[in-house]
Symmetry: C2
Subunit: 245 residues, 2 copies
Amino acid sequence: MGQQAVAPIHKTHHLDMTALPKNIIKTISIDCVIFGYADSTLEVLLRRRATGPSKGMWSLPGGFVKKEERVLVAAQRVLQQTTGVRNTYLEEVGVFDAVDRYPAWRVFTIGHVALISPDRYALKAGSDSSEVRWFPLGNVPRLPFDHVEIMQVALEKLRKRVRYQPIGFEILPKKFTLPQLQRLYEVILGKDLDKRNFRKKILGMHFVKRLTETDRNSGRRPAFLYEFDATKYGKLQRKGFMFEL
Amino acid sequence: MGQQAVAPIHKTHHLDMTALPKNIIKTISIDCVIFGYADSTLEVLLRRRATGPSKGMWSLPGGFVKKEERVLVAAQRVLQQTTGVRNTYLEEVGVFDAVDRYPAWRVFTIGHVALISPDRYALKAGSDSSEVRWFPLGNVPRLPFDHVEIMQVALEKLRKRVRYQPIGFEILPKKFTLPQLQRLYEVILGKDLDKRNFRKKILGMHFVKRLTETDRNSGRRPAFLYEFDATKYGKLQRKGFMFEL
DNA sequence: CCAAAAGTGTTTATTGTACACCCATGA
DNA sequence: TCATGGGTGTACAATAAACACTTTTGG
């Protein structure tokens, strides 16, 4: 976290430099912090490193940027190649630049975040991964490099985002209940919310609309189902709003 | 602004590659947007390029990151070397990565902002600059590369920052009046503020304290002088607050 | 009929916003 | 005495926050 003493670097480990592709920029990498929401818990997507430094450890999906590739495009590609997850809404988190953050040579990494619904993506261990898995946030294995820091900053970013953009569309089923939506917010913010105030706020934004159907397989009193109003949702996503909770 | 068609790059202009230092990372540069506040106007610090692409044009002070240097350190150094300005509180704005943003080869640049008081710094055209000058925001010359975009994003960042951190300490004289502080906020936010509401807010934060002296050389009714309360100011700077104006 | 979660309004406190007049000074 | 900017308080509106009981279902 923050500055560190400058340690000897450029050790250029010759461990197993399994032929890095030719057209990459060796100084700039991407790391993706993909949060998933399922069963009322936040999870993070990790992959086991199949090559390079810290081979065998679980780490954030990441990789190098190509010579003529934009950063966001690289992030999408890298994520897809290592984990099979593609077409997510990634957002830049910042540059991580500690001099010895990567042991083999100096690499600046650009962190990215997304929040997705695990069950909508098929995981597939790709190029540099031997295994891909979701880990509940409370149970994350030891991570290499500065990946813990990147995760923390990413989580803060996500929490901030929730305060000025609607969420849920990409995470909840098409038809969902308000208690479900509330749980989503609670899990992300890490605190309980008042049921009545929450409803007041959400309904006041008008980005969800109530259906006549109810959710009958909950076992208890059925909750009304709601749908996102795509137009209003999109507007709020672009324009932003203030959402104190 | 956003994605662009990928244009042919790597033209490697051999214009006047005035011997780039050996220990730099050619792919990663820094650009600094230094805003100055003086005479109730916002200015930006530019330098005339003495070497490389767009030589002769005014541009943001910038330069490359060294091989074992952290980004923030690089930003301070580059700023000092090109303009003489040093020891400012720089903040990261983001990565600018358009494939052809720099004509000679591909360079990712990390934008930085600071807000300073021009009269506390002596300008000195250094290494890659032939001239250094402040330009009022309304009168900025044509800038090369994506420097206009970087400036815009930096200004937005500054405006956001003003809403959750106190400002003024580094810009106003040790003893200042509330009308002075209000003008500062108005200039940065680009809009007028209500005098009474402004005072209520500021005084409510308790990061300024009123002195018994008044400012007697204003020509009009003397205004009371205030000082920043360093402790409270620092606390708010770290913890942040909500400041709607 | 019991347990469990869904649903529903009101009151109070806090915060934002709009607004108008008197005051101290130098010229 | 006038022009100029400095200083002050209040009322209204909007928003946040606290809070408890009834309803519906499955077992």
